[in-house]
Every structure is written in structure tokens, then in C-alpha cells.
């Protein structure tokens, strides 16, 4: 991991000019709350991470873990009337939290772009694909003529590997297959060469062979454009293929953060263990029972006290007393692992991993 999580100086002015050494995206102590009739939903609490240009961060978590909400905050997509956002998000040195909508519009799609999960609902059924791709281009190129915009749309479609782009540019989304729609979405988001690309479950709705195509395309485009990429997914296999760094989220908080290789081969947090154990792999022993994580994901309206994972954790007896119920563990690097942060009270997670989680945690 090239960047570790340092606690930013709170006195630092938000409008500070771009720091040359700062990664392209720095999220610091981000909290997103939604007031509802039932109470306040703590969708994201105290989340910090950073992504540099040319790097890929994988955010893993279940539904309701806050992974999508946090990235929508980066894009400034939350309605300020409904969402309370605090903390800091710096995109290329510009503070996004509290930024005026008119300025945000200049960043959105230009500096940072997003690919959504369901391409069919994200594309407008009424307009041809080319028009929609062109729109995202002309939004940031006011003077571009209609002809230029159309040419750009064709160029982008070609770039993402749509055959006969000059003909398909006039097709409507329903005339595209699932994989082609996702490609069109990628074309749309890349039309302004964004420096940050957020892919929110980009392949969840796709078949494995199409998924492989799209993941390859994303990697290729990242090599060409040198952009920062955040890939949000619940599929650990996708993360394993794509990401340099991995952030595991649970109940709106980061619970583990480190390099992809470390997290997958040497995880330090029971929730990550659970995720790895509960998924069958292509080379695991099929006669061995899966070890599910008991219970259900926590309610964000009234999150559990202390560690949000404690009601489902099998390893609470490794922690003395009722520390897990009482106290929220901090996201800290255990001794000897400076770049690997975990939020857990267990003193020596590696010993527990070796004795209790084997053989699933073992590297084959």
C-alpha cells in the first residue's frame, strides 16, 4: 500500500491548494447520516481511505455496509436535504463535502465518474446510446458541435469494444445485450477521461464470461488512462483479480484495510475470515461443510454497541470480558503489520487464524 491512513490535522483549512504528494482521492473521517421517521440511519461512520492515480481500491461488504453510500458521497450524489455528510473528501485537492452544486457539476463526470450496477436502469430507455454518451461529453465541452459529439460517442464505443460502433451508436439500450450495455456505461463514464472511476458492482448482473470481458476492459482502460479506480463489490474473487488495496466494510465502518494480497492471504479480522470461509471455491473440498457467518447484518438504525460485528462473531471468547460489547475497537495496525489496519479487539489474530480458522485460511 503506497498510502497509509494518517489522521489528518483537524485544523487544516478545507480550501487548501493541491498538495503534490497527496493521493488523488483522500477520504477522511467521512460520516453519512440519513434522518428518517424511524431515527437516524448511520450509513457511514468515520471512514477514511485514499486512492492514488493508477491504483485500484476494492471495497468489499454486504448490502447495507455503506460501501455504495460512501462512494456516492465522493461523487456528490447525495441530496443535501436528506443526507448529513461530515468529514472531508478531497478530489485532486478540491474539497467535495459542502461544495456548491454548480462547482460539483464541473467535477462530476469530468474528474470523477461512476459506473453503476444495473446498466439497464442507469441508461435512459428513450434515447439512443450514442446520444447519452455524447451528453456526458457535451456537458463538459460546451462548444463542441453536434458532429464532434457524435464522433466522440462513436470513438468511445469503439474504445470499449462494441462492434460496428458507427451503426450501434444509434441503437437504443434495449437493443444492446447486458454486457454491451455495461460497456456503453463505461464508454459514457470515460468520455471525459476522468482521473477517478468508481465502479459500483460493475459485473454483479453479468455472466462469468461477460464479467471476465468487462474486468479485462476495466484493467486495460486503467493502464491506458492511468486513472484511479474504486471497485465496489461483494465478490471476493473480483477483488482478488482487480484490486491493489482492499477495504472491508461492515455496518458502515471500515473493519480491515490493507493490500489485496495481505487481506486475502493473511486476514486479521473475524468478519473477513467469515467472508473467506463462507464462500465455496473452485478447488475447495466439496464434502466439507461451509462455515457461514451466523445471524444477519446489523441494523444501521440502532447498531450494536461496541464492535458492530460482535453479535455474529465466533471469536469473542478470545477477548477478555465484555470488551467487544462495550467498546468500539479502533482501526489500527497490529504490531509488525504497519500497512494492514484492522478493527478488532483480538490481541494476536494470526495465532487465532492459525489454530481456529485453518485449513480454510491456509494458502494453497
Amino acid at each position: 500500500m503506497t498510502t497509509s491512513l494518517q489522521t489528518e490535522d483537524a485544523t487544516r483549512p478545507v480550501t487548501e491548494p493541491e498538495d503534490r504528494n497527496e493521493p488523488f482521492l483522500v477520504v477522511d473521517d467521512l460520516t453519512v447520516k440519513f434522518p428518517t421517521f424511524d431515527g437516524i440511519v448511520n450509513a457511514v461512520s468515520g471512514l477514511s481511505y485514499s486512492v492514488g492515480l493508477g491504483e485500484t481500491l476494492g471495497i468489499v461488504g454486504e448490502s447495507g455496509s455503506g460501501k455504495s453510500v460512501s462512494s456516492m458521497a465522493v461523487m456528490g450524489l447525495h441530496d443535501t436535504k436528506n443526507a448529513r455528510i461530515t468529514g472531508s473528501i478531497r478530489l485532486g485537492g478540491t474539497e467535495v463535502v459542502g461544495l456548491e452544486e454548480s462547482k460539483m457539476r464541473r467535477l462530476r463526470g469530468n474528474e470523477a465518474a461512476m459506473i453503476f450496477q444495473d446498466a439497464l436502469t442507469a441508461l435512459h430507455p428513450f434515447y439512443p446510446v450514442g446520444v447519452q454518451i455524447g451528453e456526458s461529453y457535451s456537458a463538459h465541452h460546451n462548444r463542441a458541435s453536434g458532429d464532434t459529439v457524435r464522433k466522440k460517442a462513436i470513438e468511445m464505443l469503439e474504445r470499449v469494444g462494441i462492434p460496428q460502433p458507427d451503426r450501434r451508436v444509434d441503437d437504443y439500450p434495449h437493443q444492446f445485450s447486458g454486457g454491451m450495455r455495461q460497456r456503453a456505461m463505461i464508454a459514457m463514464s470515460l468520455s471525459n477521461d476522468p482521473k477517478l472511476l468508481i465502479a459500483d458492482e460493475p459485473t454483479t448482473a453479468l455472466d462469468v464470461t461477460v464479467q471476465a470481458q468487462i474486468l479485462d476492459l476495466l484493467q486495460e482502460l486503467q493502464r491506458d488512462f492511468g486513472s484511479a479506480v474504486i471497485i465496489i463489490t461483494h465478490d471476493l474473487g473480483v477483488v482478488a483479480e482487480m484490486a491493489d488495496d482492499v477495504l472491508v466494510m461492515y455496518g458502515g465502518r471500515a473493519v480491515e484495510y490493507g493490500t489485496c494480497k495481505k487481506i486475502l492471504s493473511d486476514p486479521l479480522m473475524p468478519y473477513t475470515w467469515g467472508l473467506l470461509e463462507s464462500v465455496p471455491e473452485l478447488d475447495s473440498d466439496p464434502t466439507q461443510r461451509l462455515l457461514p457467518i451466523p445471524g444477519t447484518p446489523p441494523s444501521l438504525l440502532s447498531p450494536p454497541s461496541g464492535c458492530a460485528f460482535h453479535p455474529r462473531c465466533r471469536f469473542r471468547d478470545h477477548v477478555p470480558g465484555d470488551l467487544c460489547e462495550r467498546e468500539l475497537p479502533e482501526l489500527l495496525a497490529p504490531p509488525g503489520h504497519p500497512d494492514h489496519l484492522k478493527r478488532c479487539h483480538i490481541k494476536d489474530p494470526q495465532a487465532v487464524l492459525r489454530t481456529d480458522v485453518e485449513p480454510v485460511g491456509e494458502i494453497r
Partner: protein
């Protein structure tokens, strides 16, 4: 196609007491342990033209000649990509769709020609678990009503026994029996899927069709539901037709696996062979496309067979082998002759003229060895 149906229909049992006579046939035909034998099953959906007369202008060949056997208490996995016909096959077996032609022998009796009423006794034996636990439960019914309905329809338990029986079922699937009065919206996705399983379990079926039972669930919940289904299978001896697109989940659940592509089974065999020694190029490509954690742990990436383009339309499938348009092994014969399922090893069949394990090449098509030499 309707003619075929009529013919098979007339030879089939027509008396009201289908169950009895159906069972009687078992002794003559059918292998002893085979529970369901599907033979050459076909389902074509008509494509209608727009306009006043809505003429039929084509056929979506969703399932086109599928043959397999599910043994008593065993599990067969059906894998394939969307549109390959795996869900349609599941719905045909439960008669949620009428098959165009073919046979479905359940304990020796053909279900294909049976009318809705004649099917009634078999509905008890064959149940289905749906993919989406949100849309497959009626939001206006309590869990008790949902799970109790099959019992009521089939007069399985007297009215005063209904609630205790429903509670017992809820307990089987790991739900709180006190919750029979609640509505589906009060449950999480995983719990709803358990309700769906309880409903399917209510009639103590011999065969359960599980159509993508875990793909709508969170990763940590998937394992819970898979374990539950395995427990139920062990306890009640239920056979499963397990339909899924997640290759690792299917491998975990099913000792025998059939791979489908564009309405046809392209490879079928025991899981060790299918996953370790796949012979059909499509199976090989499918397996290589799965993102792999184990590989990344070691810091390496596995070699991937990248299939070009999309699956062709099932309205107008390619001639000969349906996979040839995306196959790197395709030769002239593939466009001319449709490959049948060739026997590779006992119990392992692959529908490819050039079927060979990955890394090995076959120069002459199977069955043409002498012509080639």
C-alpha cells in the same frame, strides 16, 4: 409440435387416478434408483409479430433436446449463463411451462402430457424454490398462510393441526416458530429464502427444483442457506435439481453437473471430471472466467480463455454446433454436423467434435478417426 404432444398425451394415463396407475408403470420401466428421467425435452416459445393478427414469426428455442436423470436423494447441478435455458428446464419439470415435446418420467410416469388436474398428485412430489425471495412471497399473506397453503390445497393436515405443522416447518428451516403470524416484509432476504424453502418442504417432496436459490442473497447468508438445504436433503432424502450460474456453489452442492449452452447440454458428468478435466471448450472457457481468490493469494493470475462476442440469439441459433461461433476449435464439420453427447468416460459426456482436455488437441473429429487417417 402440438401434434407430438397430442400423440404422447393419448398414450398416457387418462384416468383420474393418475397417481396409482402412474406408479404401477414404474415396476416395468425406469431404473430402480432414477427418480426423474428427462428425455429429449424441448421448449420453444413462439415469437409473435406485432400488428393485428400476431402471426408466429419464429421460435425461441429455449430448451432444445435436453436429456438427464436425477437419482433418488441425489443432486444434479445445471449451470450455464443467462439465456441458456437452465431456468426454463426447471420450470418445465415443475410444469410451470408446458413442454413442446419430450418426456419427463417421474418414477416412470410421464409428466409431460398431464393436464393441470392430473398433475395435482405430482405437485406434492416436485416442488420449487425460486431465486428472488422478495417477489416469490405474497406480501399480503402471513408466513403461516404462505407455508400452510400447500398443506391446505393438498388436504395434508386437518385444520386444527395446521398451525402446529407450520410451526414445525418453520423450525426445520431455522426460523422462530412464533413468527408464523408475521408478514414477509418483516424478514431479511435470507430469512425469506428460508420461508420459501419451508413452503417447498411442506409437502415432503421427493424432488426439489432450486432455481438460483442463493444468488440474490448476501455472501455471508448464502452459506447458511446452502447448509440448510444440505441438511434437509440428508434428513428427508430429497433429490435436488440445483440450477445456478455460480460455478463454485454448484460444485459444492452437486456431485453431478450438467453444463448448458443455448438450450442444450454440452457437457455432463461427475463434478471432479467437469471441474478438473473439462472436455468441452465452453466448459473450459466458463471455468477459466471465474475470478479466483486462491490464485490471487499466490500473487499470480491464471490464464483465461476469453470468449469473443455474445451468446447468439436462441431464435436463430447457429447451424451444427451451437457454440461454434465463439469456439477457437471450430472447423467446417462444426457448422455442418451437430455434435451429439459423446461418451468420454463412464458417466462423462461432452457434445463436441473435438472434445479433449485442456492443453490436448484432437486433430480428427470424434467418430471420424478412420476418415481422417
Amino acid at each position: 409440435m402440438s401434434a407430438t404432444r397430442a400423440v404422447t398425451g393419448s398414450t398416457a394415463v387418462t384416468s383420474d387416478d393418475v397417481q396409482e396407475s402412474g406408479r404401477a408403470e414404474t415396476n416395468g420401466a425406469g431404473t430402480p434408483e432414477a427418480l426423474l428421467e428427462v428425455k429429449d425435452l424441448v421448449k420453444h416459445f413462439p415469437v409473435k409479430s406485432s400488428g393485428l393478427f400476431r402471426r408466429t414469426i419464429g421460435q425461441v428455442q429455449a430448451v432444445d433436446g435436453v436429456t438427464f436423470t436425477v437419482n433418488r436423494g441425489a443432486s444434479l447441478g445445471l449451470v450455464g449463463e443467462s439465456g441458456c435455458g437452465k431456468s426454463t428446464t426447471g420450470r418445465l419439470i415443475t410444469k410451470l411451462h408446458e413442454p413442446t415435446s419430450g418426456q419427463m418420467l417421474f418414477e416412470g410416469a410421464d409428466l409431460a402430457p398431464l393436464s393441470g388436474r392430473q398433475m395435482l398428485p405430482y405437485r406434492r412430489e416436485v416442488q420449487i424454490i425460486f431465486q428472488d425471495p422478495y417477489s416469490s412471497l405474497n406480501p399480503r399473506h402471513t408466513v403461516g398462510t404462505i407455508v400452510g397453503t400447500p398443506l391446505r390445497v393438498h388436504n395434508m393436515v386437518p385444520k386444527n393441526q395446521m398451525i402446529p405443522r407450520v410451526q414445525e416447518l418453520l423450525e426445520f428451516v431455522g426460523l422462530n416458530p412464533e413468527h408464523y403470524n408475521r408478514y414477509p416484509n418483516e424478514f431479511s432476504g435470507g430469512q425469506r429464502q428460508r420461508i420459501g424453502i419451508a413452503r417447498a418442504l411442506a409437502l415432503q417432496p421427493k424432488l426439489m427444483v432450486a432455481d438460483e436459490p442463493v444468488s440474490a442473497l448476501d455472501v455471508s447468508i448464502q452459506a447458511q442457506v446452502i447448509n440448510l438445504m444440505q441438511d434437509l436433503q440428508k434428513e428427508f432424502g430429497i433429490a435436488f435439481l440445483f440450477i445456478a450460474h455460480d460455478l463454485a456453489v454448484v460444485r459444492h452442492f452437486c456431485p453431478e453437473i450438467a453444463v448448458m449452452y443455448l438450450g442444450k447440454i454440452v457437457e455432463i458428468g461427475p463434478r471432479e471430471t467437469i471441474y478438473k478435466q473439462p472436455h468441452h471448450p465452453y466448459t473450459q472457457a466458463l471455468l477459466s472466467a471465474v475470478p479466483d481468490i486462491a490464485q490471487a493469494k499466490l500473487g499470480g493470475r491464471h490464464e483465461r480463455i476469453m470468449l469473443q462476442g455474445d451468446v447468439p440469439s436462441p431464435v436463430n441459433p447457429p447451424s451444427g454446433c451451437r457454440f461454434r461461433t465463439r469456439c477457437w476449435k471450430a472447423q467446417d464439420i462444426c457448422a455442418k454436423e451437430e455434435p451429439p453427447l459423446f461418451q468420454i468416460a463412464p458417466g462423462h459426456q461432452a457434445a463436441c467434435h473435438f472434445a479433449a482436455p485442456l492443453g490436448e488437441e484432437r486433430t480428427t473429429p470424434i467418430g471420424h478417426e478412420r476418415v481422417g487417417a
